[in-house]
Symmetry: C2
């Protein structure tokens, strides 16, 4: 917990993760550190020890899907004591985009849709998965899901991502 | 710019806002400080002086829509030097939800859809609007848009928000 989050009147203590967010699950292979895959300044995963959102990515051995864990800290709030829908949406956007990149598609998001099925309490460490649904030329269709520790699906997402020259975008 | 963002190898200087994010536009009335309307720990607007996302909300006098400005800082990155789609989605989720609350509907998000039309360069101060589209019982349909300084629409959104007992959610 940072100095900043301690200064905030919380009304509720948000528990630290019970297990390290970046500990691999069974059949998960670690991916390179975020800073090596262009995520050091990421809005979603750029602060892996902070009080907002801690995210760790892995490759699932069986099907090469992108999987991992996300912890929603005290500064990820939306409704009182619960994760912001926007934090869940942002996470699933990055999960779907990163899964597309992992599958070799250099994409940016064109459209995403997120269904919020259950509230996510702050302090929860949820697991996620992102997969390619289908590819049509430059259009890559993705899906994602966020699951609570008890196995309940908290949110699902779908997205259309489009292959672009990412370096051209960066030079604008 | 915080110490943290200075430590990061940026490759590009992200400009500070050219005008204060919280300066009202013409016909905009200031809303109470975030901390008084339950947004002090918000994932989106909880850090109004930080290096990620600075957001200021106003009421538009003509139609009582929720409007305001958002600055995307160096730690809001997605594609190189551009705002993360997830940051845009998170912002529009909060804008739509806050607009629903401003209109008297105590909602949480059930489903959102975001269309990314143009990339948003880091350092840009964009304007946004959130409005109620229609109400069907407990279901409140919302729309949102994010517009670049040159008037180009960068993203649009729609969302289904549902009236809940927010205090019950908070006590879970």
């Amino acid at each position: 917990m940072t100095e900043k989050s301690e200064q905030i009147e919380t009304g509720a203590v948000v528990p630290e993760p019970t297990a390290p967010v970046d500990a691999p699950g069974e059949g998960w292979t670690a991916l390179p550190p975020r800073s090596q895959i262009g995520l050091a300044r990421s809005f979603v995963s750029g602060d892996p020890d902070g009080p907002r959102l801690r995210v760790a990515y892995f490759l699932r051995d069986t099907d090469h899907a992108m999987v991992g864990r996300a912890w929603f800290g005290p500064l990820a709030e939306g409704p009182p004591r619960h994760a912001h829908g926007g934090a869940i949406a942002a996470l699933l956007d990055e999960v779907m985009g990163a899964a597309a990149w992992l599958a070799g598609h250099r994409v940016v998001a064109a459209k995403i849709e997120v269904d919020f099925k259950r509230p996510v309490a702050l302090g929860a460490t949820a697991t996620f998965v992102g997969s390619v649904t289908r590819v049509e030329g430059r259009r890559v269709f993705m899906s994602g899901a966020l699951t609570l520790p008890d196995g309940t699906v908290a949110a699902t997402s779908s997205g259309l991502y489009v292959v672009v020259d990412i370096h051209k975008l960066g030079r604008r």
